[in-house]
C-alpha cells in the first residue's frame, strides 16, 4: 500500500477491483465502512462475481474475468476525452510532458521492437528523447505529438465505452456510471482509492492491470494524497515483510537487486543501479545504492567484506535467469533439481497444475518441509484416492518434516500491508518439540558449516564467514536479528556537517538509513528497515495510538518503513508552491525552513517549494510514470490481452495478438491450454471469508463455518446443465478435475461478450486432503501453468473449465 489501512477512511470514492476486501481483509475493510458512514464516500465494486464486498457497495459493475485493462483503459479514455484530469498535478508531477523517442510505436497489438521467436521485446525504443544536456526532453505545453500525454490519448482512444462493454461484458451504462464516480475525484479536494489484491496480480497481464489503475490515479492527482494511492492488500501477514527482506530469486533486502552473470564488474553493478537524475536539480534517491549494498555485505560477512574484495561481490551468486517458482518447478519436472525446502509453504496446493507439481516433487532426491501443520506438500507421496492418486512405493524422494512454532509461540515482528512493522510476543510454549523457524535455520546452518569446517568442500568461504555473533548460536533471538537488520555503526561515524563531532559511536544502533555509509563503517541487514530498533529501543513495539490530525496517521504506533513514513509520495499532496492541494488533508507543509506535518515528509526536508526537485524521488525523473519506459515486459502502456485460456478465442482489439505476447510459456504447457470449444466456461479461483488459503481447514472453527468444497455458478448455467442447488458436480480442465457441491446463485450472471454469452464458474480454493474440514480436491488441479510476464505470478484468476452434474 502506498497509504495504509486507516487512511482508507479519508477517501471520497473507493474502488475494490481485483480483490474482495470484505472477504479477504474484513478488518481492514472496516475503513471502507467508516468512509461511507463518516466521509459520505461512494463505494464501487468491479468483479466477475457479486461478492460480499459488493453486498455493501453503492455500485456494482460485473466484468468478465481477465479484462480489467480493457475496463481501466476505458476509464483513462473517459477521463482524457471528457477532460476530467487534475491538470496542474498531471503537468507538474507526471511524465505527461516528457517526449518519447522517435522509434517508439504501437501497431495492431504489438509495440515496437517485438521478437516473435523469443516472445520478447527489444525495448530500446521505449525511452525518452534525451537532450544534449543529458536530461530527458519535455514539452511543458503538452502539445508535442510524441509527448507522453498525446501518446496516451492516442493509445486509449480505442477503448471506447462500446469496446469496453464488448470485451468486459459490463453493461455500458454501468461502466459509464463508474467513470462518472471516478471523475469526481479529479478535483484537488476529492480523492479516490483503489484496493486490489490477487484478483489483479494473478493474471498473465496482472502487473499491467495494476499499472493501468496507477495511471488513473496519477491523472486524477490522487497519488501521495490522504485517502488516495494504490493500495495492494497483501495476502499473508508477512508477505510484505518477506518481500521487503528480498526473499526472492532476484532480490536482496530492501529492494536491492541480485547481480546478473553479465555484471562481472562490481562498480558496473553499482553504477547501473545508482540512477542518475533525468531532470536538472532532481534528487534520485537510488544514487545512495552503494551505501545500502555495502552495509548489507558488512552485516552478512563482517570483517570478511572489504573494499579490496569489493565487499564480497563474488560471493553473491549471479543470475543467468530469474528462478521464480514456475521456472523452478519446470526445472524440477525436468529432473534438474535434487533438493527443495518448503518453509511454511504448501506448493502442492499453491502452485498451478497440481499434477505437474506432484510429479516434479517426486523427482526430487530430498524434500525438507518446515511447518507448524501437516501440509499436503509434506504428504505428497501419500495416496488419497482421487484426491492424490500416487503410489508411495514408486516415489523415491526422501522427506524430512520439521515442526515449527506458530505466531503465538514466538517473539518478532510482522510487516502489514501498510508497511507497519509490529512487534508481537510469545504467549505459550509450542507443542511437543516444535522450534522457532530461526532455530531450525540455525540448526541446519551450523551443521552445514561444521561439515565444511571438517571436510572442506566447494567454495566454503561465504558459509564459513557468514556473521553469526548470536549469544546462543543455535537459537538467535528475535531481538538480535532485528537489531542486525536495523544496522549499527562499525566505527565512529563523523557528522557530515561537522567532522569534528561524532554522529554515532562505534557499536551503536543507527537511527535510520540516512546514516548508512559506503565505506564499510556501517552494517545494516535491510536498509529500509533501518530505524526499527535504534539506540532508543524497539520502535516496532511502540503503542501510542494517538492521532492528533484525525487523518489516522498514528506516528507513535509501531514503525513504518521507510523512516516511519505513513503515506508514500506525500510531497505530492502539496502543489509545487508547497500548499496542500486540499487543506483538509494536510499531511505535510513547508514551515519556512523545512517540510513537516502529521507525516514524515517523503522529500529532502530542507528543499523549499519552487525548487526544481519533484516529489517522486525514487525515480530519476522525479515524476510519476504514465509511460513506463522499459520497465515492463509487454509495453510502456498497458494493453488488453486475453487470458491464455479465453472463452472467446480472440481479442476484439487485435485478433492477431490474442494473449500477452511477452509472457513466458514452457514447452508442453502451451498444448495443455484449454480452448473454448471443449472447455467453454470462464473459471476463476478465490478465497472465502471463512478460510485462509489451505491453512484454516486445519482449524475446527473455520471448518465448521465452511466445511465442504463447493463451486458457484449462475442460475442460467445451472438450468442449461441441469444442475440444481446442492448437486454434486465435476469441474474439469485439460489438467484434471475436481468434484464439489454446486452453489447456484444470482450473484454470478452470464455476460454478453462480443455477441457471445460467457458463463463463469467460481472455484473457492480452500480444501485439500489434510486437515479437519471435509476432504476435498486441491483447486489448482485445474489451473494453467503460466504467469504474468513481469512477475511470473500464475494466472489463477482466468482459465477455462467444463462443468457437469454427477449423476
Amino acid at each position: 500500500m502506498t497509504n495504509h489501512w486507516v487512511d482508507i477512511k479519508n477517501a471520497n470514492v473507493i474502488i475494490v477491483m481485483g480483490g474482495n476486501a470484505a472477504e479477504a481483509h474484513p478488518c481492514g475493510f472496516k475503513w471502507v465502512t467508516e468512509a461511507k458512514a463518516h466521509n459520505k464516500a461512494t463505494f464501487i465494486v468491479v468483479d466477475p462475481r457479486f461478492t460480499r464486498s459488493a453486498s455493501v457497495a453503492d455500485l456494482y459493475a460485473p466484468l468478465r474475468t481477465g479484462t480489467d485493462i480493457a475496463f481501466l483503459g476505458g476509464v483513462i479514455n473517459y477521463l482524457l476525452s471528457s477532460d476530467k484530469i487534475q491538470h496542474d498535478y498531471v503537468k507538474a508531477y507526471t511524465n505527461a510532458p516528457f517526449i518519447v523517442a522517435a522509434g517508439y510505436g504501437f501497431d495492431d497489438g504489438l509495440f515496437s521492437g517485438y521478437d516473435a521467436a523469443g516472445r520478447k521485446y527489444d525495448k530500446a525504443s521505449w525511452a525518452y528523447e534525451m537532450g544534449l544536456d543529458g536530461y530527458a526532453r519535455v514539452d511543458e505545453t503538452l502539445q508535442h505529438p510524441r509527448c507522453v500525454l498525446q501518446l496516451l490519448k492516442t493509445h486509449y482512444s480505442r477503448y471506447t465505452p462500446e469496446m469496453v462493454s464488448a470485451i468486459c461484458g459490463t453493461p455500458k451504462e454501468t461502466f459509464l456510471k463508474v467513470c462518472e464516480a471516478i471523475a469526481t475525484t479529479s478535483v484537488p479536494n476529492r480523492t479516490l482509492t483503489f484496493m486490489y489484491a490477487l484478483g489483479w496480480t494473478q493474471h498473465s497481464v496482472g502487473s499491467q492491470m495494476i499499472r493501468t489503475a496507477a495511471m488513473v490515479q496519477l491523472l486524477l492527482g490522487n497519488m501521495g494524497m490522504a485517502g488516495g494511492g494504490m493500495n495492494a492488500l497483501r495476502g499473508h501477514s508477512n508477505i510484505q515483510g518477506l518481500t521487503d527482506l528480498g526473499l526472492l530469486s532476484d532480490l536482496l533486502p530492501g529492494y536491492l537487486t541480485m547481480p546478473r552473470e553479465q555484471e562481472t564488474d562490481y562498480q558496473g553493478y553499482i553504477d547501473k543501479r545508482a540512477l542518475k537524475p533525468l531532470r536538472p536539480g532532481q534528487m534520485s534517491y537510488w544514487q545512495n545504492y552503494a551505501k545500502f549494498h555495502v552495509s548489507l555485505m558488512k552485516a552478512w560477512f563482517g570483517d570478511a567484506a572489504t573494499r579490496e574484495n569489493n565487499w564480497c561481490y563474488d560471493w553473491l551468486p549471479k543470475l543467468d535467469k530469474v528462478y521464480d517458482v514456475l521456472q523452478v518447478f519446470e526445472l524440477m519436472h525436468q529432473g534438474k533439481l535434487n533438493g527443495y525446502f518448503c518453509q511454511g509453504f504448501n506448493p502442492l496446493a499453491a502452485f498451478p497444475h497440481k499434477a505437474k507439481i506432484g510429479a516434479a516433487l517426486a523427482k526430487l532426491k530430498y524434500l525438507v518441509v518446515i511447518d507448524p501443520l501437516a501440509t499436503e506438500t509434506s504428504c505428497f507421496w501419500e495416496n488419497y484416492g482421487d484426491l492424490n492418486d500416487v503410489n508411495p512405493a514408486t516415489i523415491q524422494t526422501e522427506v524430512i518434516r520439521l515442526p515449527s512454532t506458530c505466531f503465538a509461540e514466538e517473539n518478532g515482528s510482522l510487516t502489514n500491508s501498510g508497511r507497519w512493522l509490529q512487534w508481537h510476543y510469545k504467549g505459550a510454549e509450542p507443542p511437543g518439540e516444535a522450534k522457532p523457524d530461526a532455530d531450525i535455520i540455525a540448526g541446519i546452518f551450523l551443521k552445514l558449516r561444521e561439515l565444511y569446517q571438517k571436510e572442506g568442500g566447494v567454495f566454503p568461504d561465504p558459509i564459513l564467514n557468514l556473521t553469526w555473533n548470536y549469544r546462543i548460536p543455535r537459537s538467535p533471538s528475535a531481538q538480535e536479528l532485528a537489531m542486525e537488520y536495523n544496522g549499527r555503526a562499525i566505527a565512529d561515524l563523523p557528522d557530515p556537517k561537522d567532522p569534528t563531532k561524532v554522529l554515532v559511536q562505534k557499536g551503536q544502533q543507527l537511527d535510520g538509513f540516512a546514516q548508512l555509509r559506503d565505506d564499510g563503517t556501517t552494517a545494516c541487514g535491510c536498509w529500509i528497515y533501518s530505524g526499527a530498533w535504534t539506540e532508543k529501543g524497539n520502535m516496532m513495539a511502540r503503542r501510542d495510538n494517538s492521532d492528533p490530525s484525525g487523518l489516522g496517521n498514528t506516528l507513535g504506533w509501531a514503525f513504518a518503513w521507510p523512516a516511519n513514513r505513513r503515506i508514500l509520495y506525500n510531497r505530492a499532496s502539496c502543489d509545487p508552491s508547497g500548499k496542500p492541494w486540499d487543506p483538509k488533508r494536510r499531511l505535510i507543509g513547508w514551515d519556512g525552513s523545512k517540510w513537516s506535518g502529521v507525516d514524515v515528509p517523503d522529500f529532502k526536508p530542507d528543499v523549499p517549494p519552487g525548487d526544481a526537485m519533484d516529489p517522486f524521488i525514487m525515480l530519476p525523473e522525479g515524476v510519476g510514470r504514465l509511460f513506463a519506459l522499459d520497465k515492463m515486459a509487454e509495453g510502456p502502456f498497458p494493453e488488453h490481452y486475453e487470458p491464455f485460456e479465453t472463452p472467446i478465442d480472440t481479442n476484439l482489439l487485435h485478433p492477431k495478438v490474442i494473449s500477452n505476447p511477452a509472457a513466458r510459456v514452457f514447452k508442453g504447457d502451451l498444448e495443455a491450454f484449454g480452448k473454448g470449444t471443449a472447455f467453454p466456461y470462464a473459471a476463476t479461483t478465490y478465497r472465502l471469508t471463512e478460510h485462509f488459503h489451505f491453512w484454516t481447514k486445519h482449524t475446527g472453527l473455520a471448518a465448521i463455518m465452511q466445511p465442504e468444497q463447493f463451486v458457484e455458478i449462475s442460475e442460467e448455467l445451472a438450468r442449461e446443465k441441469g444442475i440444481k442447488v446442492g448437486d454434486k458436480v465435476k469441474v474439469s480442465s485439460p489438467r484434471g478435475f475436481i468434484k464439489a457441491v454446486a452453489v447456484v446463485t444470482r450473484r454470478i450472471r452470464p455476460l454478453q461478450v462480443g455477441g457471445k454469452t460467457v458463463h463463469h464458474v467460481g472455484i473457492p480454493l480452500h480444501w485439500g486432503f489434510t486437515g479437519v474440514a471435509r476432504r476435498g480436491y486441491l483447486a489448482n488441479i485445474l489451473t494453467p501453468f503460466v504467469g504474468d510476464a513481469n512477475t511470473q505470478t500464475p494466472e489463477f484468476k482466468s482459465f477455462l473449465v467444463n462443468i457437469e452434474k454427477i449423476s
Partner: protein, 195 residues
C-alpha cells in the same frame, strides 16, 4: 384469539408444569442462579499479531496460569486488541478462531522422516534431522555448484536445490533465512509474494 387444539394442549401442558412446580414447593429462592463467571478474570494477557492476512490485526491472547514456574501456559482464548489503530478490537472469522489453529490436531510435534519408497513417517531427533539435512545439502552443493559459467565469469551459484520461504513467519525469521540461504549460493529462492 384463534386457538387451535394443538396450541391449547401446549398451553395446558405449559401451564401445568409451571403451576404445579410452584404448588409443590419449588420456591424461587431454590432456583436462583448466577451468571456464568467471567472466564478471563485472572488469565495472563499477551499481545500478538494475527498471522493470517496483511491487515495484521492486534491480538490479545489469554493463557492459563500467571506465568508462575509450576504453571504451564496454554492459550485458551484470543480476542482483538482494542487499542490497535487498525482493527480496534475486531477480528474476522479466521482471526476470531485462532485458538483452534494453535491447538489444531494437525500441529506437528516432532521431526519426522520418510525414507524413499516408504509408506510411513518415522519419528527422529532434531540432531538426526539437522545432520541428515546438512549432509544432503552439502553433497548436492559440492557436486553441482557452478563456480564459473561458460564464458568464464565467476557466478558462484547452486541451482540444484531450491528454497521456498514462509510469508507468515516473522521478519526476523525471514532475515536469517535469507542471509543463510544466500550464503550457500542458492538462487531458486521464493516466497508467497506470487500466490
Amino acid at each position: 384469539m384463534d386457538v387451535t387444539r394443538r396450541q391449547f394442549f401446549k398451553m395446558c401442558a405449559g401451564g401445568v408444569g409451571g403451576s404445579s412446580a410452584v404448588a409443590l414447593g419449588f420456591a424461587p429462592a431454590d432456583a436462583l442462579a448466577e451468571v456464568r463467571p467471567f472466564k478471563l478474570a485472572r488469565s495472563t494477557e499477551t499481545r500478538n499479531t494475527c498471522p493470517y492476512c496483511s491487515v495484521s490485526c492486534g491480538l490479545i491472547m489469554h493463557s492459563l496460569g500467571d506465568r508462575a514456574k509450576n504453571a504451564e501456559s496454554s492459550i485458551f482464548h484470543i480476542e482483538g486488541d482494542p487499542d490497535h489503530p487498525v482493527n480496534r478490537g475486531t477480528l474476522c472469522p479466521k482471526g476470531a478462531g485462532l485458538v483452534d489453529f494453535i491447538h489444531s490436531p494437525s500441529r506437528l510435534k516432532y521431526p519426522e522422516y520418510r525414507a524413499p519408497g516408504s509408506r510411513e513417517w518415522k519419528r527422529i531427533s532434531w540432531d538426526e534431522a539437522f545432520t541428515r539435512v546438512a549432509r544432503l545439502m552439502k553433497d548436492d552443493r559440492d557436486k553441482n555448484f557452478v563456480a564459473t559459467n561458460d564464458a568464464g565469469a565467476t557466478v558462484n551459484r547452486w541451482l540444484t536445490t531450491g528454497f521456498l520461504a514462509a510469508s507468515a513467519s516473522s521478519n526476523e525469521s525471514g532475515y536469517i533465512t535469507h542471509k543463510t540461504i544466500r550464503s550457500t549460493g542458492l538462487l531458486a529462492f521464493d516466497n508467497q509474494a506470487r500466490v
